[in-house]
Structures are given as structure tokens and as C-alpha cells.
Subunit: 345 residues, 2 copies
């Protein structure tokens, strides 16, 4: 199969694809026994630090599921480590940063990132993967959105309300802007390096953007996301942009220039696509919890999404958020097969 | 001032009000020093079990802030206690239920609630408050939506994904329906009793409805919320309905019959009102995090919301979610004064 025929690349360009391509956010992870076996011997940060392990974990779901894309195994917060933040992962609670960014001094102290020197393991992993993946299964590189990564940096960990970050935006907007600028450079450089190493698609995960209203999003997040995506605009890779609970932001998120907008599961695919506009592709949007449903019910839910895509070119099937721990692998595999069966031209 | 002139009641009926009425979700709570003083001596469940304490806590923000409504101090999960669930509150983590509802047997074991016998302290508190509140400050009674209360009951505590509840809906819809029916009766009876005791407005908090897409909301949540609100439809009290992150559900939520729809802060007020329709009032929708902003910035944000209401009758000013711990009381008070100043006819 020629490289240009990869279903994911066709759909991202809104050209006819042989099947509706499908992959899953967080398709490599704890729900897979192969992954859990590796995690018994390595921490998450160790997995992200060794090219062979990155490669292995990235390939696990490609082998097990038959998906149409591989997504680089990494974490959106990795670039914060060479910037000087003390990042760890607390079991069951997620990331924790021991020295969160709160002051002008903290921001000034953030170091510049040299992707090759500082995040070389990831780039080496991409190079290995580029040689191993079949041509019809492109590798997706990614970074977090500056807003989301910056919010983690300010909060020091998951914070559903993003209160400290919003406090900085409102009370000291010049500090927020300085932080965003540093992150925009670091994340943009890293994304460019990923593409040069072999990533054929990129995704910007602005996971927390949905915490903002449209006014704050346009002021404090959108310009930086757009700047990161513009860095790879001329490199020939489709750009996917995704946020959770962000249906109210879709018209603004398209202004990042992304060719593909990810829809979370709450938005119906047709309404989401209407918000995004017909000149963009969409990705989504099965509720991750639906993967726990009995197979007949699960297939009905897949059907509803495919019906809403109405056979238009430009639909990449995915979840509306990442795969949940405990998800039955056979259900994930069944969805891949079913989407392929239902859409094979 | 005549009872019918209470600004909140006028706005809820979309009649001209002397000022845009304002109150705050979670206006009684930890951000207030008076409340923290009481909490040093009493647990949350103790506060909810003594009519005098309920009255005191409910009145604290009315005295301190000059708001246009009092909201009963209680918790949406209280009715689960007489139903047989072992409810506690874990500091910093929220409610925890030691015996969550998972099986047909668990659901069958849920006891019926007699509001007067089982939740009499709350009703006594309402009776006392009815005598103490000035006529222009109506008391708002409330219950949780059956979906939200049921999801807590199934999950056993806060669960951002509502995975166990969705699993029951998808794999055993008859169980979910049975649970919803029991809760609909209990919550409906309790809401009727609150109105008979003196609540002059009611709010249904279906806080977690936003976790559902429109299809699941219509199938597994809406019918029960509507049934609860219908119980008080003929009692002459305006009915407010609110969910977080639920902008995609607003057209469905209006089908509950509620006269007022609450908007969360992510939706712009004008767009939210358009989704809800011109024949309903709206409540909202300042970002709770904005209360931490410097006063000039905070006032600009209030201005933007008032501009979006565009002087139409039927706007009740509120937050788009509850007041956050640590919120500066003087900022809350400043918003009350500013909204009154800006809108005094």
C-alpha cells in the first residue's frame, strides 16, 4: 500500500479513505496486560526515558488492536523536566510537581529546552518506530497545549478548577504571558523535532482548555496553541487539536489552523462538526465508558456515531477522551473490527 | 415591600425586577469565617441535623452579603441516609458511601423516605427560616437530580467519569431504571415537603448531568428530573434547574419544565439563553475563579455578563458553579453591590 493511502492521512485531508480510520487516545496503557507487565518493572518516567521501551509500548496496541495509527508513548508534561520542574507521578493521583511555578522568578528560572539533548530518548523512539511501523499506520507525535501544560506547572498537579492558573491570568497577566511564551517555544521546538524524527501526524492535547470560557480561551490560551501548531504548518503533517469538555470552544479552536478537530463524547458528532466547519476533519467521539457496555449495546453506540458522520470524508474514529483503566481489551478490538467492517468501501 | 416584588421571584417569572437579583451557589460555606467557626465544633452532617444550625448557616451569607435569596443549607446526598446508605464526608475529598449500590438486591433494599420523620430537621429549619427571612429574600429549597444522586450512590463517592453508573445503565438498564424510580419518589416527596414547609423557590441540582451525551441524558436522566420537578409544578414556586458542563444538554434540560435554567460559566450567557429559549429565565454565570481576580478585573467580568443579558427580564445573577474555598468574602460582597448598582432601575 502506498504511503499516501494510509486511511488516517486520507481522512485528515478529507479525501476518500478505504475505511474510516480508527485509533484510541491512550491506546497504550494500563488496560493492556502487556503494558502492566512492563510497568511492574519500570516507572512511567523510566518507560519514557528509554527508546526501546517507548517503541515497545507504542507498538503494543498496534499489534493487539489493528488500529490505523500509532501514538507515541510519552506524557504531555515531559518537557517540564528539562525546564527545571521536579515532576513525579503519584499512584492513583497522577502527576505531581514539587516546585510549581508561581512567581516571576519561577518563570524566569525555567530553562530553555534543546529537544535533541533533553528529550532525545523520545526522538530516538520515534526514529525506531518510523522504521518498524507499516506505511499504512502513521505515527502520531504530540505535545500538550501551552495552556494545559502551563496550568499543570502552576497548579503543581491535577486541579479541576485551574484556580491558581486563573488567578495568575487575572491578577498578573504579564506573568501568565511570560510563562506561555516560554512554553510555546519549548513545545513548538519539541513538536518540530518529533516531525523531523519521523512523526507523520501531530496532535496538540489542550486537555484542560474546556475549563475556560471563550473569552479567556481566546486571550490566554488560543494564541499560544496557534503558535505551536504554526511551527509545523509547512512540514506536511496533518495537525489534530483536541480538548476535553470544549464544545463551546470549537469555533475558536479551529482558529489554531488545525486540519482536524477532536470532539469529546458529550458533543454529538454532527453538531460538533457543524461548529468546526466543513473545511475541517473531525476525530471522535465514543464515550470511553461505552467500552464497558455489552457488545450489542457498544455496537449500537458505534453505529450512532458513524451515522452522524453520514459517510462524509474526513472522519477519524476515536474516543471522546482517553481509554479508562480496566477497559476490556476485547471490546476495544471489537470496535476496531466493527468500524472497519461497517465502513469498508 | 410586597412579597410579589422580591427581585428573584420577578426575574424567575421574566417580569421586570427592581434590580437584577443575585445569589451564589454554595454561598454558605467554608470561605466564610462565621461558617468555619461553626465547623470547628460540628461535622457537616451535624450541621444538617439541627434546625437551629441549619438556620444559622443559611442566614450567614444573607447577613454578610446582601444577596437576594437564601439557599437552604443542606447536602444533595442527605436523602440517601434514611434510604439506608452509610454516608460520610472525608476531609478534602468529599462524600464517601461505605455501602454503594451495585446490585438488584442493593436497590431493593433501599428504604422509602418519609420526609417529616426522616429529614425533619431540614423541614424544621425551613419553617424557622420562613419566619426570619425578610419577604424580599425568598428561601430556595433544593434536591439533587436523580441522575446525580444515583450516580453518587452507585459510585460510592465523587467519580469524575461516572463509570460504574454508566456501566449499570449500559449493561443492566432495568437496574438503573429501578434505582431512578426509587430516587424520583424520595427526592420528589422531599421537595414537596420543603415547599410545604416554606421554600418559595426550588432548585434541582443535576450537577453531573454534563457527563452524559444528549442521548444518554434523555434516556437515563431527563425523565426522572422532569418527574421530580413536576411534583412541585402546581405549588406556585419557580423551579430552577442546573447542571455543570451541560451546555450541550440545555435544549433537553428545558424539557424538565423548569422556569429557570442555570448556565455554567463556560457558556456565554447570550448563547446559553438562546439554547434555552426566550420563554425561560436564566441564572448565571460568573466563573467562580473570577472572584479571586483584582476588583477592577472582576467588575469587567461582571459587566460582560450583564451586557450579554442585555437588560432582558429574566436574568438571575449567580456563579456558573459553587463558590470555591478560599474565595475572598469582600470580593463576593463587592459583586453583589456592583450588580445591584449597575442594574437598579
Amino acid at each position: 500500500m502506498a504511503v499516501s493511502e494510509a486511511p488516517l492521512l486520507a481522512a485528515a485531508a478529507r479525501r476518500p479513505a478505504p475505511v474510516t480510520p480508527i485509533w484510541f487516545m491512550r491506546q497504550a496503557g494500563r488496560y493492556m496486560p502487556e503494558y502492566r507487565a512492563l510497568r511492574e518493572r519500570h516507572t512511567l518516567l523510566e518507560l519514557c526515558a528509554q527508546p526501546e521501551l517507548i517503541t515497545e509500548v507504542t507498538l503494543q496496541p498496534v499489534r493487539a488492536l489493528g488500529v490505523d495509527a500509532a501514538i507515541l508513548f510519552a506524557d504531555i508534561l515531559l518537557p517540564l523536566v528539562p525546564m527545571g520542574l521536579d515532576l513525579g507521578f503519584v499512584a492513583g493521583e497522577g502527576p505531581a510537581i514539587a516546585n510549581p511555578v508561581r512567581t516571576a522568578h519561577d518563570i524566569a528560572s525555567l530553562r530553555a529546552v534543546d529537544p535533541e539533548a533533553d528529550l532525545g530518548a523520545v526522538l530516538s523512539g520515534i526514529r525506531i518506530l518510523s522504521g518498524e511501523l507499516p506505511p499504512h499506520v502513521p505515527l502520531i507525535g504530540f505535545v500538550g497545549g501551552p495552556f494545559t501544560v502551563g496550568t499543570y506547572a502552576v497548579e503543581g498537579g491535577p486541579a479541576r478548577q485551574a484556580l491558581e492558573a486563573k488567578r495568575m491570568m487575572h491578577a498578573a497577566p504579564e506573568l501568565w504571558h511570560a510563562l506561555m511564551q516560554k512554553l510555546t517555544v519549548a513545545l513548538g521546538d519539541f513538536l518540530v523535532a518529533q516531525v523531523r524524527a519521523g512523526a507523520r501526524v501531530v496532535q496538540l492535547f489542550d486537555s484542560w482548555a474546556g475549563l475556560l470560557d471563550a473569552h479567556d480561551y481566546r486571550t490566554h490560551a488560543l494564541p499560544y496553541s496557534r503558535a505551536v501548531l504554526e511551527r509545523v504548518a509547512d512540514l506536511g503533517v496533518p495537525r489534530i487539536h483536541f480538548g476535553v469538555g470544549a464544545s463551546h470552544l470549537l469555533p475558536a479552536m479551529r482558529e489554531t489552523g488545525a486540519e482536524v478537530l477532536g470532539l469529546d463524547w458529550r458533543t454529538s458528532l454532527d453538531e460538533g462538526w457543524a461548529s468546526v466547519g466543513p473545511d475541517r476533519a473531525v476525530q471522535g467521539n465514543l464515550d470511553p465508558a461505552a467500552l464497558f457496555a455489552p457488545l450489542p449495546e457498544l455496537r449500537r453506540r458505534v453505529d450512532r456515531i458513524l451515522e452522524r458522520a453520514a459517510g462524509r470524508d474526513g472522519h477519524i474514529f476515536n474516543l471522546g477522551h482517553g481509554i479508562l483503566p480496566g477497559t476490556p481489551v476485547d471490546h476495544v478490538r471489537a470496535v476496531v473490527d466493527y468500524v472497519h467492517e461497517r465502513t469498508a468501501g
